[in-house]
């Protein structure tokens, strides 16, 4: 892509998203340094100044200052910083005298890069899975139901009468999981089933899209996919008339 075309696209992306808050944050930071030792990246890197949260927003401010006119090398540097040097945990914001939300700006930078087609490959494939199957691991509906069935069968031998109620209308709690459980940690599902059963909970698990409560698209700022995922889960809860959605954490 020609740099000028890219800069135009970047500015078009940023224009509606750089609001009053981001602008103020970028401007009023006094570089007081209070955020430095709140960050585990900074502490773990032997107090490397590069890891100070306030330093990590320089890519965003630089992109805005240059009006989007940045080269591939710059984008790569920004990528390394916002993906490899920040967990967006917001601990720095808790200690910032001005309450500057660094993680918000990192997220915006990630979203900007995503809009330019740049994002971690693993997350890109998770997003592809979301679109194809509604869950990050690409588990098909058949496999999902299969997993639930054998989880139930295995547990029945341990607990009398244990059921994993699928799509039970009118249950109080709709339970959703991290799709990794279905693939790698099925015992997690069984443990919850056991607890729910012993507690006598009125619960159910949805069979269709929405049972994966992870939202990895959020990490790259793909808000469109994020929204769809949340909508899926709420659509299932509404269909099943569940009062609460319990997530696996």
């Amino acid at each position: 892509m020609e740099p000028s075309t890219r800069s135009k696209a970047i500015m078009e992306f940023l224009k509606p998203r750089v609001g009053a808050r981001v602008k103020s944050w970028l401007e009023i930071c006094t570089k007081c340094g209070q955020c430095a030792d709140t960050c585990h990246f900074y502490l773990a890197a032997d107090r490397d100044p590069k890891m100070i949260p306030a330093a990590k927003v320089k890519y965003l401010s630089e992109i805005i200052r240059r009006k989007g006119e940045v080269d591939d090398e710059f984008i790569q540097k920004a990528y390394d910083c916002i993906y490899h040097e920040c967990n967006m945990c917001r601990r720095c914001t808790q200690f910032c005298p001005f309450g500057i939300n660094i993680a918000d700006m990192i997220a915006l930078t990630r979203a900007l890069l995503f809009s330019q087609g740049v994002c971690p490959e693993a997350l890109r494939s998770a997003i592809k899975n979301y679109h194809e199957t509604g869950n990050q691991m690409g588990v098909s509906e058949e496999d999902w139901l299969d997993t639930l069935t054998w989880c139930e069968e295995e547990m029945e031998s341990e607990i009398v009468g244990l059921k994993i109620p699928v799509d039970k209308v009118g249950a109080e709690i709709m339970y959703t999981i991290n799709a990794r459980e279905a693939k790698f940690y099925p015992q997690d599902i069984q443990e919850v089933a056991k607890i729910m059963h012993v507690a006598g909970a009125s619960w159910t698990v949805p069979s269709k899209r929405g049972w994966d409560d992870t939202n990895l698209s959020m990490f790259v700022g793909d808000l469109k996919t994020s929204r769809t995922l949340v909508e899926n889960t709420f659509a299932r809860a509404t269909e099943l008339g569940a009062k609460k959605v319990a997530i696996t954490e």
Partner: protein, 153 residues
């Protein structure tokens, strides 16, 4: 997590035993910092443990484990940085002397298990649900008797 708290707190789920080994607790950013569940998180941990040892900064101002913000699902490309920045969490865990780390988050648990290997912490990271499912009292009528006997036999 909140549900488990309420079940345990209200006695809907009763425990047959508590974890005897020293435990500590991770405060996942999205459950605690963003979810506002610090107190309940800790309460669950305390209800499950005999020897609960809070970390420095336990609660709302705890450090991230280093696996958040997509770091775990990013997979291999992030591994090096993930292990490096997790040093703080590893040190926190080591300082408590705990053998069991209670981790109510899939991201954190993967990260902390990796940290355990990387930094030789000698700990086990477990979900609440694992402990609860293991240590709770299952009512008599739900226990399949024949199988028990078969096993004993």
């Amino acid at each position: 997590m909140e549900l488990f708290h309420d079940y345990l707190d209200q006695g809907i789920i009763k425990l047959s035993k508590k974890v005897t080994e020293p435990t500590t607790l991770q405060d996942p950013c999205n459950v605690v910092r963003s979810g506002g569940l610090a107190a309940k998180n800790r309460h669950v941990a305390e209800m499950l443990s005999e020897d609960f040892r809070p970390m420095d900064n336990q609660g709302n101002y705890n450090y991230c484990c280093g696996g958040g913000g997509g770091a775990i699902p990013m997979g291999g490309e992030m591994r090096k940085q993930r292990m490096k920045c997790g040093k703080i969490k590893a040190e926190q865990i080591r300082a408590t002397g705990a053998k069991i780390v209670l981790v109510p988050c899939h991201n954190c648990i993967d990260q902390i298990r990796d940290l355990n290997k990387e930094y030789d912490l000698g700990i086990k990271a477990v979900h609440f649900k694992e402990i609860i499912a293991h240590n709770m009292i299952v009512p008599e009528h739900m226990i399949p008797k024949e199988e028990d006997e078969e096993e004993k036999a």
